[in-house]
Every structure is written in structure tokens, then in C-alpha cells.
């Protein structure tokens, strides 16, 4: 049975194909369209997942859409009514899009998937999130927590998954939303909403949570069970085109920071404060869900589940013994979720194997790569696996920055060794080099380490796996010789690497350890600021040539920048990507 899951028309559109309960392929549209957070119908991603499965649209048995558009529309109309006349601007901007596109989802799907004639099924947004984490988790039974900006009405929900069933029990409803609260602060701190929330998380350790009590007293009414209401007089996201209004600015003593301007202690402290609020809410929710369900395993999804600092605290400070976070916890994961919901819950089918990795995107064999490189006139060496590992590890240990393009592309926002930029974490200057000369991004942003899973607890304060880079742990005191991946609070957002999930990447880190004694390397996404992570050899080659990376391992081909002809471009590539 082939089920196609689709998520689109808000942000991060994606498609996933499930065959007999197993995800054959999943891909975000942005990787193929090269438009960050692309929200349009994922026509390219659909084409790719069908191709990967070797089928056409006519071979599909069902198509699932990740939310209920009419319920969302109802929520929007209710919001316009409740906030009249201030909602005029938002109404005028949103309605044409709804009338033209969002109200006609089945028609659009039928048009894009001709000659498909089967059913189109709709799942609630938070059910899609819940299914996206539970059905791919290794747990037969688990509590489920989903938290994001907003779906139809729900902004957070909890339930229990058992076998092929998921039951959602409770929810928090719009406009009271932890995701939107965090986004409001993201906006106020001068970052892009629905895109740069992770920057606020990265900024937080630089400051002190001096506003925490004020926020909790005045803006957030939080109960012991993690449920909360927001004081909406401080926000304008319910009616306007911005997230916060004048009262919010007054509360924090100034207007929102202008994007790309200097940051001061004030911004650091505000980021630290909202991060602490977020963690407090998630922790209380998790404890409540544990009390209610009596279960010791938790699955999480929704945009807020990408807050790996909060996730780390959930596993350390709540009674939950095991935690699974969907690697594509945001809306892209909804495509996987709705496909599983249709197959497992509605179809009453038994579950397939749990995910052990997130390499679900396109891959390119050596013949394709070599053909492309030959077309570019690029000089390269073809190396066997063991030679490639040895040579790349030697280069990294020698202070080089490597573009690492291997196997299938990752599904989700993190690069996990398929489309990564790798470097030596022992070099204290490497963070600045990577931020400024290679990624062209803000200097404060930390880098994440990939560590051999069997050495993780030796180097970091963690006793569970973090294969999807969604947990933050402290670097152990005797191991602080990796400054480039150690944040100012001595934390690190780590990825644990196993040989089963990623043999070549594992061997590379193992070889690096043999050379240096350190089983850790810097792993950052293979892209520049504002650009989606690279997907094809062409994307990788362009990104490599445009930046100051030293070498590129493209499949088994190893390229040295010094030996390559300069790239001839008619346009300044920096203008191609909107800053995130």
C-alpha cells in the first residue's frame, strides 16, 4: 500500500511516501526549489518521492494532507471577528491567498497528482505531529506531546500512543501559544519569525534571565500543569501583521531591535528570559503528562520540539526515562505524520520498524557526480571508502574545512553527516572562521558537535542517544578541549553517531579520533546563510566554490579548492538568498 503525505501552504512544505508502513522517501520542497522555508505545493518533492518509490501518481492508494484547511479558516474568521477593526490589514493580506489557493486543497492535489483518483484524507495538524513522532519511534506505547505555533485551533496537545492507535486527550487553543510566544520574542529581537527561533535559543546563554519573573507575572499565566494563557494585550499576532505591539515594547523598555544591527546585553537578557520561560512551560507540561499517563516514554513533535535545550531538560529533569523527538519536528514532519496516520490509525495496519536515521532524501551515485564534475572541468581524486575517510580525517585534523556530501540527504532541519560542513573542534578560532568566512552568518552562533555514540557519555553529560541533534548537554569538565563546539555556558547541541546509521561518517570520526584523540568533529549544515541545505552535487559544488571551504568530499570524489578553476558567475550570489 502506497500512501503519500503532503504538508504545505504555511511554511516548510514537504512530501513523504509510505510503502506498507515504511517511509521510502521524505523531502522538503525548499531543498529542491532552493527557496528557504518554501511553503508552496511541494510538486518537486512529490515527484522525487514517487520516483524514489518507482511509482507514478496513479499507483498511490491514498493521499493525506497534514491539516484541516476549513477548520483553520474558521479560526482565522473567528480571529478577524474578535479583533475587528484592528484585523483589517491581516484580513486584506490573507484573504486573497485563501480564496486563490488554501481553500482549494483537494482540487490542487488532484490537479498536481493526475491521474490519481483515490481518496484525499485530512488529519488534524496536531494529530499529524503526534503521528510523525510516535509511529516512527521505537516505543510500543508512549505519551505524546506536540507543541507549535498553531494548527487549526490547537497550539499544543497531549495524548497517548499505543500500537497503531493515537488518542489525543487535551489541548491548548489559539491565541494562547508557546510557539507564537517564542516567535513574538524572535520578532522583537530582530530575527525572522518561523525561521530564526533557533537563533534566540543560541543567543540565550549569553544573557541572564532577568525578565523571567516579570514575564511570568504579567505576560504568561502559567498553571502547575503546564497549561497557560497569554496576556494578549502585549501581542498583535492575532490581528496584525507583526507579532508584538507598543505595550510589549514599553514592557521591555524600547522598540524591537532592527534586523542586522548590533546586539547588546539587553537582547541577550531578553533571549535568556524567554528561553527560561519556554523551558519552564515544557517541563511543567511534561511532568503533568507523566502524571496523567503514568508512562515513562515520551514522544515530542511540533516546532517547539526543535528547542533542544528544553528537550535536554525534559530528559534530565522529568520522570520520563526515554524521549523520542521527530527529527523533522516542524511542519515538514507533518507529511510523514499524516501518511502514518492514514496507514496505521485509519487503515488499522501494524507498525513498521522504528527510524534509526533520517537519511530519506535524494542521493547521487559516483557516476552522476563524476559526470557533473567533468562537465565543470573540475579536478578531483577518486578514493575508496577507507582512503576517503583517512584523507578527510587528516585534512580536518590539519585545520581544513571540508564540505561533506555523502549518500541520501537528511529529512528535517539538521545536517547529520549527509550534507554537512566539517571542521576541527579543537581549534578555538574555527567558530569565527566558519561563521564569518564560510557560513556568512552572525558571529554569536554556536556550532554543533558530532560524537561517536559509544564515546558520547565520556565527553558530554548525557546517557542517551541524540542521533538527530535535538538534545543539548554539558561538555564534561575534563573534556573542554573542544572550544569550537562548546557554547558560552559549556553546553553543546550534540549528534551521536552510530556505525549502523551512518557507517562512513562514523568511520571518519573514528579516524579523526585515532589521529587526535578526540572523537568529536564540528558538524554544521552544508549551506550559507539564507540558503537551504544543499541537495544535489551542483548545489554542493556551487556552495563550496562560493565560500572559503578548503576541500569537498563529493561521494568518493575529493576536490581541493586550490586546484579548481574559479567560478564564473554573472550575479553576486549573496543576492540570491534572502537573509534568515
Amino acid at each position: 500500500m502506497n500512501v503519500l503525505g503532503i504538508s504545505c501552504f504555511y511554511h516548510d512544505s514537504a512530501a513523504a511516501l509510505l510503502r506498507d508502513g515504511v517511509v521510502v522517501a521524505a523531502c522538503q520542497e525548499e531543498r529542491l526549489s532552493r527557496k528557504k522555508h518554501d511553503q508552496s505545493f511541494p510538486a518537486r518533492a512529490v515527484k522525487y518521492v514517487l520516483k524514489e518509490a518507482g511509482i507514478g501518481p496513479g499507483d498511490l492508494d491514498a493521499v493525506g494532507f497534514y491539516d484541516k484547511p476549513l477548520l483553520k479558516f474558521e479560526r482565522m474568521l473567528s480571529t478577524y471577528i474578535a479583533t475587528f477593526p484592528r484585523s483589517f490589514g491581516s484580513f486584506r493580506k490573507a484573504m486573497p491567498v485563501w480564496i486563490k489557493e488554501k481553500l482549494w486543497v483537494p482540487a490542487i492535489i488532484r490537479k498536481e497528482l493526475r491521474p490519481y483518483k483515490g481518496p484525499i484524507l485530512f488529519a488534524e495538524h496536531h494529530m499529524s505531529h503526534a503521528a510523525s513522532c510516535f509511529f516512527v519511534s521505537p516505543f510500543d506505547e508512549a505519551a505524546i506531546l506536540t507543541v507549535d505555533g498553531v494548527g487549526e485551533w490547537a497550539t499544543a496537545s497531549f495524548g497517548v500512543g499505543k500500537g497503531s492507535d493515537i488518542t489525543l486527550f487535551k489541548e491548548i487553543r489559539f491565541p494562547h501559544s508557546l510557539g507564537l510566544l517564542y516567535s513574538a520574542f524572535t520578532y522583537y529581537l530582530g530575527f525572522k519569525v518561523n525561521s530564526a527561533e533557533y537563533k534566540v535559543m543560541g543567543l540565550a546563554p549569553y544573557g541572564k534571565p532577568v525578565h523571567f519573573d516579570r514575564i511570568m507575572n504579567e505576560i504568561v499565566h502559567l498553571n502547575e500543569d503546564g497549561s497557560f494563557k497569554l496576556n494578549m494585550k502585549y501581542f498583535s499576532y492575532d490581528y496584525g501583521l507583526t507579532m508584538t505591539d507598543g505595550r510589549f515594547s514599553e514592557f521591555f523598555g524600547g522598540p524591537p531591535r532592527k534586523p542586522e544591527t548590533w546586539m547588546t546585553e539587553r537582547e541577550f537578557d531578553i533571549a535568556a528570559s524567554i528561553q527560561k520561560v519556554c523551558e519552564e512551560i515544557v517541563l511543567r507540561m511534561a511532568r503533568y503528562i507523566h502524571r496523567e499517563s503514568g508512562l515513562t516514554r515520551l514522544c515530542m513533535a511540533g516546532g517547539v520540539a526543535l528547542n533542544c535545550v528544553a528537550n535536554g531538560r525534559v530528559i534530565r529533569e522529568t520522570p520520563f526515562k526515554e524521549l523520542f523527538v521527530q527529527p523533522a519536528a516542524g511542519d515538514a514532519g507533518g507529511a510523514v505524520g499524516v501518511a502514518h496516520y492514514v496507514y496505521n490509525s485509519l487503515g488499522k495496519q501494524p507498525r513498521g520498524p522504528a527510524w534509526t536515521h533520517a537519511y530519506l532524501g535524494p542521493d547521487y551515485d559516483d557516476a552522476e557526480i563524476r559526470q557533473y564534475l567533468d562537465g565543470q572541468g573540475a579536478k578531483y581524486r577518486v578514493l575508496a571508502d577507507d582512503e576517503l575517510v583517512r584523507e578527510t580525517a587528516r585534512l580536518i585534523a590539519g585545520g581544513n574545512v571540508i564540505g561533506w556530501f555523502q549518500g541520501r540527504m537528511e529529512f528535517g532541519p539538521r545536517a547529520l553527516g549527509g550534507r554537512s560542513i566539517l571542521a576541527d573542534p579543537r581549534d578555538a578560532k574555527m567558530r569565527d572562521t566558519l561563521n564569518i568566512k564560510i557560513k556568512f552568518r552572525e558571529g554569536f552562533r554556536p556550532f554543533a558537535p558530532s560524537v561517536l555514540a559509544d564515546k558520547a557519555s565520556e565527553w558530554f553529560d548525557i546517557d542517551c542517544d541524540s542521533p538527530y541533534m535535538l538534545l543539548v548537554a554539558q561538555v564534561r569538565e575534563g573534556k573542554r578541549c573542544i572550544p569550537s563546539v562548546t557554547h558560552v555556558d559549556n553546553s553543546a547541541r550534540l549528534q551521536t553517531v552510530t556505525r549502523e546509521a551512518s557507517p562512513l561518517y562514523y568511520d571518519l570520526i573514528r579516524e579523526f579520533e585515532r589521529l587526535t584523540g578526540v572523537p568529536v568533529i564540528i558538524n554544521t549544515s552544508f549551506n550559507v546563510r539564507g540558503e537551504p541545505i544543499v541537495c544535489t552535487p551542483h548545489d554542493a559544488y556551487l556552495c563550496f566554490m562560493r565560500t572559503n571551504m578548503d576541500h569537498l568530499a563529493l561521494g568518493h570524489c575529493l576536490l581541493d579548492k586550490k586546484e579548481l578553476p574559479p567560478l564564473r558567475e554573472d550575479v553576486d550570489w549573496r543576492t540570491l538568498f534572502e537573509l534568515d
Binding site: Y80, A82, P85, F88, P96, F122, E171, H176, K229
Partner: protein, 114 residues
């Protein structure tokens, strides 16, 4: 047929005839561009101009819809003291709401967008 159409046209008020003529001209120009010069700069400029006019009209129409439909309902709700968004600063011991299962049942509910 043509004479009946001509008579009908002659009976229309002048401003309606002007508007009708204008609309027919726009459609004819559009069709001509599509047929004879779909990739020309002139067509691109024409499209931009028409889209700008369309944006203004959309704004005008949506403003009317907003005032005529959203306005009265909102007023009615305010008079009744109903807040569709539940924004009151309540002191309830919990703000969790029960998740309401769709009365149609999971499979039937999944066939609908609501």
C-alpha cells in the same frame, strides 16, 4: 440577434456602455498579447499594470466585504459579551481543554476538511 444586442446596448446608460467597452478592450488586448506576443516586454508591462489595478480593486472589494460581513458580526458578539478567542485572564486551575473527537468518527472525519 446582432440588432437585438445593439438595441439592448443602446438602452444602457452611457457610463455602463463606457465600462463595458473598456472591459471588452482589456479582454481583447490580453487575448492579442497571449496569441501574438506572449514573451514580449510590452506584455510583461501590460500584465504588471493590470495586476496593479487588480490589487487596488481587490483591496477595495475586500474592504467592503470586511466592513459589511465581519463588522456587524463582531459588533453583535461584542454586544453579547462573547469573545471567540477566549482572551480573558481567567484564574482557572487548568487551561487545558478537552480534545473533541470528531462525531463522524476518524475515517469519515478524515474525508472532510473540517
Amino acid at each position: 440577434m446582432m440588432s437585438r444586442f445593439g438595441a439592448w446596448l443602446a438602452h444602457l446608460p452611457t457610463h455602463t456602455r463606457v465600462l463595458l467597452t473598456f472591459a471588452i478592450c482589456v479582454v481583447l488586448i490580453e487575448l492579442a498579447f497571449r496569441r501574438f506576443a506572449p514573451h514580449s516586454k510590452a506584455y510583461s508591462r501590460w500584465t504588471k499594470g493590470v495586476e496593479a489595478v487588480g490589487a487596488v480593486w481587490t483591496a477595495v472589494l475586500l474592504s467592503i466585504v470586511y466592513l459589511v460581513s465581519v463588522g456587524p458580526v463582531s459588533l453583535f458578539m461584542k454586544l453579547r459579551g462573547t469573545d471567540l478567542l477566549d482572551r480573558s485572564a481567567g484564574k482557572d486551575p487548568t487551561f487545558w481543554k478537552s480534545h473533541e473527537a470528531n462525531p463522524l468518527g476518524p475515517l469519515a472525519a478524515a474525508r472532510h476538511q473540517f
